[in-house]
Symmetry: C2
Subunit: 342 residues, 2 copies
């Protein structure tokens, strides 16, 4: 990773603001000795949070003052038009002005998307950015997009999501031919809505490694590296998954607490269950990418703790190192050239 | 339950046909001494499958011959127009002719829906039938609809789903004011697509116990008794849930098989894990209702085993006993009257 420019962190965003962002920043700075970070937010608050931090780490940490904060319930339009000195806006501005190579925020998703689109603009050939994140699956992980930025999508947008997701996986997973699946309610050609059917034709005619329709049950089976869907479906699928996992964990706990014997067994089973918990821990997968922008923006979960927020910072460093926006630009340009030639 | 008319079973449907349907039928007949069933399918095959069945049970079991079978990959239009003597079609015809009080099929969902709509017709005020099923949740179960019959839904259809789901829960769960939630990608009013926003207004103005938007994560948390969504979203959410549960079970198994110690612990933990498995076992929830028809039609999973198919038969007996279509008719009529009066 280029150590010239830092990564900007919206230090006031999310449910916990600096109380999570500062410890996460310190943790990742310890791990990555070439990394530099900019904390964007209330200077006095941040200075005080950094009191006592060792000089070597502190030297790689700047503070950039911002006088406002986007609230979790601010309308995106309000955050964009009125809160021009919010920590979120200033962090995104730093990316635009090439003073930062990426930014990470745990703030309001709609506001972050609106500000990022307005400030950074989309890449040529991208109608709307999409949100994507890695989800655990049988043999590693699967990227699903869109996860909620676009409630209604045209076939053309679904196709762009496939190109962007594929470029992301090629870049960050060193996978030269990511398998792209289109989420549908059956595998037969006659299934699905019009947008999905038309997107299937676009994908089949493209140079992407398109494997056809996949169903909800395939997402965690590892049959595809990229699963494409509209943001309404993707958001529901993601949150339902988290709900099921939570439901199962609660029930495991209840089963093991029935009586003394089951409590003892549960205690003995802890290491094994912890291994599983670590594997499916949403904190390990925290950090969703806003793809299709002229810059790198990572969205952390609003309720992320320092462990989870640190992961979002790591994703930002990886996307910087792999120049993800350039790869997406190339992916889209390649298709345009091919279509002109075809 | 009225013991006058039997329940018809499509004995050739699904992945296993009579090999599953016959043992399931025998099991439920043993449990419910007033129940009568009609097996619809190839008479010779069914006679031979019933050889050796005790007389008392056999006396409550008729066979109705059907010369054809709807295949899992038949197009619904083909099944409807060409296969007029399929076991599925004959079973639905029995309901129409009041020779059966309900029918159960594990066959092709699209074909079952097309045949049921054509033969039985929808109830007054229902544009399209919906598929619903109980899903396990924190304090019992939640009904979600639509689960895949309708890929694009208008606000009006979503509203009808809410009325039908609410009537179903009132009837079968003795719940006088089922909590109805509308599935969305956020709880704020400005979230979601146009159909969902408009349906929210219709629901808020209705006498239903409408609790507002719910998110994917709420489905298994037991916040609503009925969760309303379009069939694309519902189908993806359902199948994704099953995928997550399968993924977790596989990983639990893997964690416990790591070494001798974890295998021993796993063995000791088996009773507790079995309790959980029983709770989330999709077989226990097998049997989806096609709501909004002038008759009771239950769809079993195509890959159901006898344990699961027996559950689908039990759901049919329950809906017969509670006269679910009449309750839905009343629910819809009540709203029409109220609107005229309002």
């Amino acid at each position: 990773m280029n150590s010239e420019s830092p990564i900007a962190l919206d230090a006031m965003g999310g449910d916990y603001g600096h109380a999570v962002v500062v410890p996460a920043a310190l943790q990742v700075l310890e791990e990555l000795p070439a990394l530099r970070l900019v904390l964007v937010g209330d200077r006095a608050v941040l200075e005080s949070a950094l009191a006592g931090v060792a000089g070597a780490v502190r030297a790689r940490l700047e503070i950039r003052h911002a006088s406002e904060r986007v609230e979790m319930d601010d309308l995106p339009s309000h955050a964009l038009r009125v809160k021009k000195d919010s920590s979120m806006r200033v962090a995104v501005n730093l990316v635009k002005d090439a003073e930062a190579q990426a930014c990470v925020s745990a703030g309001n998703t709609g506001a972050l998307m609106a500000i990022s689109r307005f400030v950074l603009k989309t890449l040529p050939g991208v109608d709307r950015p999409a949100i994507t994140s890695a989800l655990p699956c049988a043999d590693g992980h699967t990227y699903m997009l869109d996860l909620g930025a676009n409630v209604d999508c045209t076939a053309r947008q679904l196709f762009q999501f496939a190109v962007m997701g594929s470029a992301l996986v090629r870049a960050v997973d060193n996978n030269s031919a990511p398998r792209v699946g289109l989420l549908n309610i059956g595998e037969e050609e006659n299934k699905g809505n019009e947008q999905v059917k038309e997107a299937a034709h676009l994908l089949a005619a493209s140079p992407l490694n398109y494997i056809g329709f996949v169903e909800g049950g395939d997402v965690y089976a590892g049959v595809a590296d990229v699963v494409v869907c509209d943001g309404f479906v993707g958001n529901v699928a993601l949150k339902t998954s988290e709900g099921v996992a939570k439901f199962i964990v609660q029930n495991v706990r209840r089963e093991f607490s029935r009586n003394l014997f089951t409590r003892l067994v549960g205690f003995a089973a802890l290491p094994a269950l912890k291994g599983l918990k670590a594997k499916i821990d949403p904190r390990r997968y925290n950090g969703a990418s806003l793809l299709g922008l002229q810059g790198i923006v990572i969205k952390s979960h609003g309720g992320a703790d320092a462990f989870a927020f640190a992961n979002a910072i790591r994703i930002a460093t990886l996307e910087v190192a792999k120049a993800v926006p350039d790869k997406i630009r190339d992916g889209l340009a390649g298709l345009l050239v091919e279509r002109r030639a075809g």
